[in-house]
């Protein structure tokens, strides 16, 4: 997109096998996430958003590919880096932005903010911010699916930084022991905050742990949404059909700092450029152009429409009022 000549990697099998419609859909959805995040950045800078804001830029192919591997009723359980999943699941962009603004029109009415996106009907089951503590919950959703024999699969995302913590271990132990229909996906973006993997994990390959949990595993560098879709699908099917959990490690990269307060100085420009070069969203864009002859202009038009959508979402979010003061007393207890 910057017009510079770069040493671009070849298009992947996944991209080649995809139809133009599939590519167009995936590209659009990834770009929607990216533009949403960019708007969030701007809003944060302008003081419209407060607290922590963790962007998904660079990892979009995962949320999109996952969405394509899921069935109606399946569940996503994610960390605080959750905007991408919400948008991929079809959550309303205005509601998402309004949540960041802490407004009544927010996805959870403004009480959660960036880290707690939930939209039950869309299969978006959170948005958790205590590292690892959502892993047992995801196992619990899967337990319920098995208990109720409702065929629902839970896909639980965690960061590379969440692998060492106890609750992750316990959730995986129970899933393996009881054969729960859940897929654990580690989004290994190489860093937990400012700390590279080598300083947080004793071994590089996270899926080495799968054996101890009696789980199947898979591990790959994310290149495009279709690869994610296809390889996740294997695990999702295993969960649904055999009631067996899987541990998947996705090697990926975030282009921004950990959160808005992190300039990300611990990374080199060369490293960043390397990953930008094979940004799965850009690869998808290239596939549309190179394999299907879609014009630069046509893609610009898509982008403009998305920018428009996201600007409208931002404006609508901003027009949403703050929650009424009494709202804070709501939902502390369920009143029957």
């Amino acid at each position: 997109m910057d017009g510079q000549t770069r040493d671009l990697p070849p298009l992947t099998e996944g991209l080649k096998a995809a139809s133009q419609d599939e590519l167009a859909h995936a590209f659009k959805e990834m770009l929607r996430i990216r533009r949403f995040e960019e708007n969030a950045t701007r809003a944060y800078t302008r003081g419209k958003i407060s607290g922590f804001l963790h962007l998904y830029i660079g990892q979009e192919a995962i949320a999109i590919g996952t969405n394509l591997a899921m069935r109606e009723g399946d569940r996503i359980v994610a960390t605080y880096r959750d905007h991408g999943f919400a948008l991929a699941q079809g959550c309303d962009a205005t509601a998402c932005m309004a949540e960041l603004f802490g407004r009544s029109g927010g996805l959870v009415g403004g009480v959660g903010g960036s880290m707690h996106f939930f939209d039950r009907d869309k299969g978006m089951w959170g948005g958790y911010a205590i590292i690892g503590n959502h892993v047992p919950l995801a196992a619990g959703h899967a337990f319920a699916a098995k208990y109720l024999s409702d065929g629902k699969v839970t896909i639980c995302f965690l960061g590379d930084g969440a692998v060492g913590i106890g609750p992750t271990h316990e959730g995986m132990t129970l899933a393996g022991l009881w054969g729960l229909p859940v897929v654990f996906v580690v989004e290994n973006n190489r860093y937990s905050m400012g700390t590279p993997l080598g300083r947080t994990l004793p071994v590089e390959d996270i899926t080495l742990r799968a054996q101890g949990y009696g789980m199947e595993s898979d591990r790959f560098e994310v290149t495009d949404p279709f690869q994610v879709r296809d390889r996740l699908k294997v695990a999702v099917d295993r969960a649904r059909e055999e009631s067996k959990p899987t541990l998947i490690e996705l090697l990926t990269y975030r282009f921004r700092g950990h959160s808005m307060s992190d300039p990300g100085k611990y990374r080199t420009k060369a490293e960043l450029d390397g990953f930008r070069n094979r940004d799965p969203m850009e690869m998808t864009r290239r596939a549309l152009m190179e394999l299907h002859g879609v014009s630069e202009d046509a893609l610009e038009a898509v982008d403009e429409a998305i920018i428009e959508e996201m600007d409208v979402a931002m404006a609508s979010a901003d027009a949403s009022p703050q929650p009424v003061p009494e709202h804070r007393f709501k939902n502390v207890y369920v009143e029957e």
């Binding site: 503590n133 047992p136 959703h141 959730g171 709501k330 369920v334």
Partner: protein, 326 residues
């Protein structure tokens, strides 16, 4: 009326609720094949099978979380902690996920479930196995907290807790599982948040719950001999708290004492005292006193443990002190 032990009352409550509602299940260490470390689930595995009576590995955070996750899907888990002392390793799950999920999701999810098990000191189990978790959980908005002292209360409150749409912490006691009492044959529920006046009296209000109820009643007997007529209120529910019953009694007696199985600093008792002095200031003829654990890790040695835990004689002294006697 049948005469049951508390452990049987608890078992019956779980059994009846499991018969009534397919979504109710029991999960915890040794709850199935072993029938409970304290035999509170005797016969349940046999009756309901492994699907609904689930032995877990030692993973309190894991199975507490599984319970919460399952509750979010509409199931009604009963999570047994072998003792609440072990809930320390599941603390985050309880205070962050169970207590907050309803609020944090803007009401989209909730966690209708019970965490139950024995709490506080038993007998010579040492410092890590003798702690009262009342304060830790009563402190947290989003949780309900119940503590029982009789078979009848145990059954009625546990059934209500299982049906409650909120996460309920349900405190029992190792040393009370064998306590017997009459339990109605017909089905009944006891509403959460309603204290029970276990003994009426005109001179001093004595507040207690869980294990401290027996101490309070014994102290009231001792006081009666000294001519002090003590009103013993079993709070039964710590959150929500039946403040009205407490304040009404204090306004009648003008004096109050709290007996607590728990440490002095910032405990439930401190809360009761703070609330009483705030709401009944003019009615109080004496400061409200508290008799509770000494501010110490529990010792194993029998004599030291005995000294660390509140005894009826100490409660009697406090009753006399607030009455300016003795």
């Amino acid at each position: 009326m049948a005469v049951l032990q508390i452990r049987e009352a608890i078992r019956d409550a779980m059994r009846e609720e499991m018969l009534r509602d397919d979504r109710v299940f029991l999960m915890g260490e040794e709850v199935g094949h072993y029938e409970g470390a304290y035999k509170c689930s005797q016969g349940l595995l046999k009756e309901f099978g492994e699907k609904r009576v689930i032995d877990t590995p030692i993973t309190e955070t894991g199975f507490a979380g599984v319970g919460i996750g399952a509750a979010m899907c509409g199931l009604r888990p009963i999570i047994e902690f072998m003792t609440f002392n072990f809930s320390a390793v599941a603390f985050d799950q309880i205070i962050n996920n169970a207590a907050k999920i309803h609020h944090m999701t803007g009401g989209q999810f909730h966690a209708p479930m019970v965490f139950r098990g024995p709490n506080a000191a038993a007998h010579m189990l040492g410092s890590t196995h003798s702690q009262a978790f009342d304060t830790f959980y009563a402190h947290i908005p989003g949780l309900k907290v119940v503590s029982v002292a009789t078979p009848k209360d145990a059954k009625g409150l546990l059934k209500a807790a299982i049906r409650d749409p909120n996460p309920v912490i349900f405190f029992e006691s190792e040393v009370q599982y064998g306590v017997k009492g009459e339990v109605p044959e017909d089905e009944y529920l006891i509403e959460l948040g309603v204290a029970d006046t276990k003994r009426e009296g005109a001179d001093v209000t004595l507040l207690c719950w869980g294990q401290s109820v027996a101490i309070a009643l014994a102290a009231a007997e001792l006081a009666q001999e000294k001519g002090l007529d003590v009103e013993v209120i079993d709070l039964r529910s710590l959150r929500p708290l039946d403040e009205q019953t407490i304040f009404d009694s204090v306004r009648k007696t003008n004096r109050a004492v709290v007996v607590e199985h728990g440490w002095p600093y910032g405990g439930v008792g401190s809360h009761l005292i703070a609330r009483i002095q705030e709401e009944c200031f003019d009615a109080l003829d004496a400061p409200v006193l508290k008799v509770c654990y000494e501010d110490l890790p529990m010792s194993y040695a029998e004599n030291l443990e005995h000294l660390t835990i509140p005894q009826p004689s100490q409660v009697l002294e406090a009753l006399e002190e607030v009455s300016y006697r003795g």
